[in-house]
Symmetry: C2
Subunit: 108 residues, 2 copies
């Protein structure tokens, strides 16, 4: 079990916090985005699966914007540019899985 | 966005249903476990990250049993034997990510 309370938190900018756990074949990242926060557009070679646990967030991609609520899942192909912005007043919590394991500092 | 309503469902036994989406580097599986259901112990070479969305479920591993509720995350290393059984009366929904992509029929 990943005990998120025991995983150090780092600052992902704009008030967004991030906790990272490396597996052998994947990297798991928990994000907490405060209301109003924006995650800048970026890309990475790893495939990304995002599951939203709380709140509502819009992901921006070259093919359009998509809004996800609790339980919503998004699969971001390798090297696709994407960003995110929180919708509404609720803090967003998401779990992101990067595959393969991300060796660099994550900016998932 | 993964539109689970549009992904075909298959029978994983004991009333458990499964929907599978293959990415390039990972495979994403949504499970729905009815109350009382048990997923038999098994293993696979892929690493598995499980996120529980609803309900409560106990995962069994050689190093002990662990119970997960909504938002709980479990990282199962490659080739570790594991099984699961639903706790209580609530249907369990989970999202599992397998890395690398699972080429065989999934029994995650």
């Amino acid at each position: 079990v990943i005990d998120w309370a025991a995983v150090p938190m780092d600052d992902a900018g704009n008030g967004i916090t991030r906790q990272t756990v490396h597996g052998d074949r994947s990297t798991v990242v928990r994000y907490v985005y405060p209301p109003g926060s924006v995650f800048a557009t970026h890309q990475h070679p790893e495939e990304q699966l995002t599951v939203v646990l709380t709140g509502r967030i819009t992901f921006t991609t070259p093919s359009g914007d998509v809004s996800l609520g609790p339980g919503g899942s998004l699969l971001v192909p390798p090297n696709l540019r994407h960003g995110a912005r929180v919708d509404g007043d609720e803090t967003v919590e998401s779990i992101n899985v990067l595959a393969p394991r991300r060796e660099r500092s994550p900016s998932a």
